[in-house]
């Protein structure tokens, strides 16, 4: 089982490699990837340095080009694909049918992984991407239960990669237009969700309010932990109750599921968080490396160690963790 870790810059990539990542995924510094944040990601020169660093130490590098180009931006995406091919990356992570076609035709030697942004949840959709573009691996949306992942692993015509740890998308990735409904910019079109330039913090008496493009996302009492106003993680009113109507600000943590995922034949586990610090990447990679090695050595008796869980909890969003959709009652 491969450990796939995020890097938003060279220090994070080094942290991932040094702590035992089998592969690191990165993006270029524009809207061709789904973490298009100011100051984040790689230009060609830095990417070459990153790939050199990783390859010399036996780690792979994947490049995410996983947003959806519109007509006028098309060349930016094809340039990104060509640049990644020239850099001799180990795989591209892609979602858009048009761009996948371009990559498969121009660079047939370059392995393609299907991004979570393509929303593939069943064997027939995987068959589409395999038949059309020869994808070798698919990253699953964070919507399937463990039993459903097992069935899909049995039926899938390609290798599967699942999210193991990090921020939790409650919606099917690639099929969510909530962010563009509120701000005009979405993961699909701009590589952003609830973008920072639309965020406003406002003190209102004792309370702190977070707004996204003027829409009130949450109100925090003095002393309450105020999280980033990702719009699906705010408190809203339904049927007269004010609560996290869609999702709490929690992180996904599947460490205890590791033996099951391994038995199912899941090929890789993915850590979310290209927008996070090198310290986050180092800590999470370190724990997961130890856990995967321990689980491989002794799957029958594997138990997550308390110190691992503590280390992960300390970097989790909202410091709460959940099994998410893998655990049926969450749904």
């Amino acid at each position: 089982m491969e450990l796939v870790c995020p890097a938003g810059g060279l220090p994070a990539l080094k942290a991932a490699v040094d702590n035992g990542a089998d592969a690191v995924y990165i993006g270029f510094g524009d809207d061709t990837n789904a973490r298009h944040f100011a100051g984040l990601n790689f230009n060609d020169g830095r990417a070459a340095e990153a790939i050199d660093y990783a390859h010399k130490r036996g780690s792979k590098v994947f490049v995410a080009i996983n947003t959806y180009p519109q007509t006028d931006g098309w060349q930016r995406w094809t340039r990104a694909v060509d640049a990644a091919a020239a850099l001799k990356v180990d795989a591209l992570i892609m979602a858009d049918i048009g761009t996948l076609g371009y990559a498969a035709e121009r660079h047939p030697e370059l392995p393609l992984h299907l991004s979570v942004q393509a929303s593939a949840t069943n064997p027939e959709s995987l068959r589409f991407y395999k038949t059309q573009f020869g994808i070798r691996r698919a990253v699953l949306p964070r919507v399937l239960s463990l039993a459903q992942v097992r069935q899909l692993a049995d039926d899938a015509p390609v290798d599967l990669e699942v999210f193991a740890f990090g921020s939790l998308c409650v919606m099917v990735e690639g099929r969510c237009q909530l962010s563009s409904y509120v701000t005009g910019e979405s993961p699909n079109t701009c590589g952003v969700c609830s973008p920072a330039k639309f965020v406003r913090w406002q003190q209102s008496g004792e309370r702190l309010e977070s707004r996204l493009n003027d829409v009130l996302i949450d109100r925090f009492e003095a002393g309450e932990n105020a999280g980033y106003p990702t719009l699906c993680k705010g408190r809203f009113v339904a049927e007269g109750n004010t609560f996290h109507a869609l999702e709490e600000p929690t992180s996904l943590n599947t460490l205890e599921l590791l033996p099951k995922l391994m038995t199912m034949g899941v090929k890789a586990v993915k850590i979310e968080g290209r927008q996070r610090s090198p310290a986050y990447v180092a800590r999470v990679t370190n724990v997961w490396r130890k856990a995967i090695d321990a689980c491989k050595a002794n799957p029958q008796t594997f138990r997550p160690r308390p110190e691992w869980q503590q280390a992960l909890a300390s970097v989790a969003e909202g410091t709460q963790t959940t099994l998410g959709a893998y655990h049926r009652p969450w749904q």
Binding site: G98, T121, E124, F128, G174, G184, L246, Q331
Partner: protein, 296 residues
């Protein structure tokens, strides 16, 4: 331009559906989409009953398209999607790319729904080579971007035998999840949802703490809080070469929207702003929730 009635996105009991489609047969719509696109636990009709309804609407002069479920998680859901794709009688609207695969295996022409991510002409070309004959534009694509896409598609020779449909009236389908938000609002897990969404014929309003319309919970689907109304933009659509304007069913107001659009397309007077407060931001290239611009 033609008018379509999109698939009903809500969980309505059979009686309401029977009544709604009996009236739809009399409405001036050209195309009717039928089927459950949101949640497999809602089974107001079985496949045979949907087919009977489809035949009745066809006999009333409508073009009928069967819509698949959007999020396929369980093997049983895949089985239902396969049976729909193999119906052998009616065109299918694929709402998951797996359905595209199944339909192209059989060599039958198909339609793609708004959640199939077609953002550029290269994607259109690939799908057309597999049998696409009409595509519904993803809701977040702006007029300007769609215009460029269609110009480029025309240059590539893709528009012969390919129609473009725009979601033009109704609440916007914005997101899908493993979680049922209607059940969550009642503190119920999805596996014991008690089919709560039956109690909300137009979804459950989710408002901000300031009381503003925000979103609408419709089972595992999240819709816009506001109704989108692009009827005032019908001339632009006609001039761009849009073939079909889609009206999404609501418990009330569907008929008024259809009649207003029919009047506009026929060159008669109608004031689409009378249909009530609405948004049209996506079309104008801004936040989708932006209110319908005044003075159109």
């Amino acid at each position: 331009m033609r008018i379509s009635l999109g698939p009903n996105l809500y969980f309505w009991p059979r009686e309401r559906l029977d009544d709604f489609y009996a009236r739809a047969a009399e409405l001036p719509v050209d195309i009717v989409y039928l089927g459950e696109t949101v949640c497999s636990k809602r089974r107001p009709y079985g496949l045979e009953e949907w087919l009977d309804l489809a035949r009745a609407l066809r006999a009333a002069g409508k073009e009928v398209v069967l819509s698949t479920l959007t999020l396929i998680e369980a093997r049983s859901e895949l089985g239902v999607m396969k049976r729909l794709c193999l119906n052998g009688e009616f065109t299918v609207e694929a709402n998951d790319i797996g359905a595209v695969q199944l339909l192209s295996d059989q060599g039958v022409p198909f339609v793609t729904g708004p959640n199939i991510n077609v953002y550029n002409p290269q994607t259109l070309r690939r799908l057309k080579s597999m049998g696409l004959r009409r595509w519904v534009v993803p809701v977040e694509i702006s007029r300007a971007s769609l215009q460029r896409l269609l110009e480029e598609a025309a240059t590539l020779g893709l528009l012969d035998g390919l129609e473009t449909e725009v979601c033009s009236y109704g609440r916007l389908p914005l997101a899908y999840s493993a979680r049922c938000f209607t059940a969550r609002a009642h503190n119920l897990p999805k596996d014991n949802c008690q089919l709560k969404c039956r109690e909300y014929p137009e979804g459950l309003a989710v408002r901000t703490q300031e009381g503003n319309d925000f979103l609408t919970a419709n089972g595992i689907q999240t819709q816009s809080g506001l109704v989108q109304n692009l009827l005032p933009h019908w001339r632009e659509m006609r001039d761009m070469g849009i073939s079909v304007m889609r009206i999404s069913p609501r418990p009330e107001g569907t008929e008024s929207a259809v009649r207003a659009l029919r009047a506009l397309l026929d060159g008669d007077r109608a004031d689409p702003a009378e249909l009530g407060p609405a948004c049209d931001g996506f079309w104008r290239g801004t936040a989708g929730m932006a209110p319908l611009s005044a003075g159109l």
